[in-house]
């Protein structure tokens, strides 16, 4: 068991000595994204190749967590981020592995594996030069991609568990004061002040107390929390142990959805190791403080991320939310005082204890401090996982980090806050991204999903898409959410199909407001957001659908017709080749014609034609 700062340091320096003996370090991303694009084969190919070259003990090859550029994975990084290779092994694994070995042996940089920039021919060597990375401020993700998450010594070598040791020699009130003064707000969506929550839970009557982590991450397409749990599980455990000490808890749970087996695996391993080293369990670091953590695997309903449903689910009951008129800090798990925070919130804690609340407070916007992890997806050039200071503008995220809109199309809106968030139009691109400004725009921070949409997105159709998700995910406990959201979906669906009536927009606004005001939990209270925010900023699109039976973006199938303009058609046959139903006829070099009766309006011909000859009416 480690009981002192000196012992921590000695583990760290021993480990550093051990790694310094290697000639080179190679970090292979083994996050879920890269694993699914073949990272494990790259790892095996590389280690076998190194053995063949007799370099096996000269080169340290690490499997790390997500680096953020998942779409360009598998990602391989050399040394202290000197070189970044992308799409390694995607086309030719043997050749790429040979390039990796050549990079080690001859310091030869493999041009073809480097990240390509926007400007013609520009290649970036170090990740620090790539705008996607250089525009970020990585705190929570600082060690994601650097560490082997299955090796606790690596975490300790980076100063890990030093904050826990420090905190255990502070008073609980001092710790809570620091967290409160830092301004940290919960990263799970609501933006609740973390220090305030901890204090209320510490002061709550009742024993035992529970300190929980929310790793449910129900938002479709979001992977911030998963990446963190997979890439740096010890940071979450360390944060929880600090919080538990401050609050006075002896037992905790991490709630992880069942669809995240790798996160469960890495967290379990981390818990086991942390117990071995004396960071969890009885008499932590010899201070007499006891706290242990177990993993609870959730069934994966979106609503189970909601705090009271999550608690019911741990208790073995149906995942239905409860009314929050008694706070969970007073009566939570098994009716005992309970403090729940999102995993990203927990991962911020060791940094605050280590570097001080003043440091944390110095980043961010006036009422939203620190950094936030986002998953940036949709029609941007660089999709991936990013961490940026709060208060950065949407424009900076989308254009500087994201590299702008794919195919240089026109930006239309960005959807933030997950399925029940809202869509923000172009005029607000200069808005700072923080809890309060997003809420002001009728959207929200949520857990950090960000979906960029271009001119080829119909906002009514987007609203319909999110509503459909919410109808599926409503738990059905309360009337407004169960009955109301499905009726909103019916109306929006009708509008998309060309059967909208005058008055529908007002009806949606009126029903949406009633649902917001009367639903029992956050799901229903925010479910109308996708509709209300698109009505607010894109009302003319609703009107076009309802009154002119026209879909301006050319998406709603019942309202459009694909047509090939004879004057522009060159007879290149591309469209006919792409059409999945084979309904385009025409000779080579002759004008092509669409058989309207069979056309499914999928848009493939529109995207395929290089001469703009396909017109959507």
């Amino acid at each position: 068991m480690i009981t002192s700062q000196e012992q921590l340091q000695s583990v760290a320096s021993e480990y550093k000595k051990k790694t310094a003996a290697f000639d080179a370090v190679i970090k292979i991303c083994c996050g879920t994204g890269c694993v699914s694009s073949g990272a494990l084969s790259v790892y095996e190919g590389l280690t076998a190749g190194l053995r063949g070259e007799g370099l096996a003990d000269k080169v340290l090859v690490k499997k790390t967590g997500c680096h953020g550029l998942c779409e360009r994975g598998p990602i391989v990084v050399f040394g202290q981020d000197e070189i970044l290779y992308q799409s390694v092994g995607k086309r030719n694994i043997d050749a790429d592995v040979a390039s990796l070995i050549a990079t080690v042996k001859e310091k030869k940089v493999a041009e073809q594996l480097l990240y390509k920039g926007e400007e013609k021919g520009k290649r970036y060597v170090s990740p620090y030069e790539i705008p996607f990375y250089s525009g970020q401020t990585r705190v929570v993700l600082s060690l994601n991609g650097a560490l082997d998450p299955e090796n606790i010594e690596e975490y300790i070598a980076e100063g890990g568990y030093g904050s826990l040791h420090k905190a255990l020699h502070m008073s609980p009130t001092e710790i809570i004061d620091s967290i409160e003064k830092s301004g940290l707000r919960g990263r799970g969506g609501g933006g609740f002040l973390t220090g305030y929550k901890w204090r209320s839970c510490r002061q709550a009557q009742g024993n035992p107390k529970y300190v929980l982590a929310n790793g449910d991450e129900g938002d479709p397409g979001a992977f911030m929390d998963r990446s963190l749990m997979e890439g740096n599980p010890h940071a979450i455990l360390e944060g929880m142990a600090i919080g538990a000490f401050a609050i006075g808890s002896g037992q905790g749970y991490i709630y992880v959805r069942d669809e995240y087996p790798l996160a469960v695996h890495r967290l379990s391993l981390a818990i086991e190791k942390a117990r071995e080293y004396g960071f969890l369990g009885k008499n932590i670091m010899g201070t007499g403080f006891d706290y242990d953590i177990d993993i609870f695997r959730g069934g994966g309903a979106f609503v189970c991320g909601e705090s009271t449903a999550l608690i019911s689910s741990i208790e073995g009951k149906a995942g239905e939310p409860r009314s929050k008129y008694t706070h969970t800090v007073d009566k939570g798990l098994w009716d005992k005082p309970t403090n729940l925070n999102n995993v990203e919130t927990w991962a911020n804690v060791p940094h605050i204890i280590d570097k001080g609340w003043e440091w944390f407070q110095s980043t961010g916007s006036p009422r939203s401090k620190g950094t936030k992890v986002f998953s940036l997806v949709g029609k941007v050039k660089n999709t991936g996982l990013i961490e940026v200071p709060m208060g950065i503008t949407l424009k900076e995220i989308i254009y500087d980090l994201g590299g702008g809109i794919q195919g240089d199309k026109k930006f239309k809106a960005v959807q933030t806050g997950g399925p029940s968030g809202g869509c923000i139009p172009e005029v607000y691109l200069d808005m700072p991204v923080d809890f309060d400004s997003l809420t002001k725009l009728g959207s929200m921070m949520g857990s950090g999903g960000m979906i960029v949409m271009d001119e080829r997105s119909c906002m009514v159709d987007v609203a319909r898409y999110f509503l459909n998700f919410l109808v599926q995910e409503s738990c059905g406990k309360c009337t407004p959410c169960r009955e109301g959201v499905r009726r909103m979906h019916e109306i929006v669906d009708r509008i998309c199909r060309g059967d909208g009536c005058r008055g529908d927009v007002e009806h949606l606004e009126e029903l949406g407001k009633a649902i917001q005001l009367s639903s029992l939990c956050g799901l229903g209270q925010s479910a109308p957001n996708p509709v209300l925010s698109t009505i607010r900023f894109f009302k003319e699109e609703y009107i076009a659908h309802i009154e002119e039976k026209r879909c301006p973006a050319g998406i709603c199938k019942d309202l459009i017709k694909m047509q090939i303009l004879p004057d522009l058609c060159t007879g290149c046959m591309r469209c006919a080749g792409e059409c999945p139903v084979g309904c385009i006829e025409g000779e080579k070099k002759g004008v092509h014609v669409i058989d309207q009766s069979r056309c499914t309006k999928c848009g493939a011909c529109y995207d395929a034609c290089r001469f703009g000859a396909v017109k959507i009416e």
Binding site: V303, C475, G476, T479, R482, S518
Partner: protein
């Protein structure tokens, strides 16, 4: 005694009392569907929403669960509350077109028609869960539950099969505010929740009075000999 304000007037209530209970005592009308005086509530129907103001903070809450606090102001008839009631009743009308209870309530609050397509698969059930709670907390057998989620949520026995636990007591049918639960006594047999129960025939008057299984259950719970219970209450 806790002093607070109700629609602008001074009002009083006891510690731990809900807004709904206090308001009803004061003669204020608040509609409910899922609340029951004995069973309490778990906040499902949302018809009982009211507005609460504390300091500068004003919000809508379910009056059947929210406890009164000193100095708070409660408003039960604001434009937002009316809009919520009307929206919910319109939704209920579409869900339960056959329910008189729903229709009467809707009429009382000025909702005549529903703009939505009518459901024909939900019967009269408003998902108030009173049957489930009765079976669990009053009868003590937990034969019913809420299954499914979202619009597919319904009350049912496990897997929709005749429940092993059900004793045919009919308490769920008696409590149901809408008359949704089907129960029939015919030729000495009671049918409820797809299960059939033999009714006990009183040896004195010859009347069928209660399911044998229910009497066995009571006998076991109370220690009263079964023979005694088989005789109906009138002849005992």
């Amino acid at each position: 005694m806790i002093e607070f304000k109700l629609n602008g007037r001074d009002a009083q209530g006891n510690q731990g009392e809900t807004i709904l209970d206090a308001a009803r005592r004061e003669g204020i009308d608040i509609p409910t569907l899922c609340h029951n005086e004995i069973l309490g509530s778990d906040g499902r129907c949302r018809l009982c929403m009211v507005e609460v103001q504390k300091g500068n903070r004003r919000r809508t809450v379910a009056s059947c669960l929210y406890q009164i606090e000193k100095g708070m102001e409660v408003f039960t008839e604001t434009p937002d509350i009316h809009a919520i009631r009307r929206a919910l009743l319109e939704l209920f009308l579409a869900r339960n077109p056959a329910s008189d209870v729903v229709r009467h309530l809707a009429e009382r609050y000025g909702v005549k028609e529903s703009r939505y397509g009518k459901d024909n698969d939900k019967g009269k059930c408003v998902l108030c869960s009173q049957c489930v709670r009765t079976c669990e907390t009053i009868v003590g057998v937990t034969a019913l539950g809420l299954s499914g989620k979202g619009p597919a949520k319904k009350v049912a026995t496990p897997f929709d099969e005749p429940s092993e636990a059900c004793i045919g007591c009919g308490a769920c049918a008696a409590i149901c505010p809408t008359g949704h639960i089907y129960m029939e006594d015919k030729k000495g047999i009671r049918t409820i929740w797809k299960k059939q129960f033999d009714l006990a025939k009183c040896p004195v008057c010859g009347r069928y009075h209660a399911p044998v299984m229910q009497l066995e259950f009571i006998s076991e719970k109370s220690g009263t000999p079964l023979d005694e219970l088989l005789t109906c209450q009138d002849c005992r």
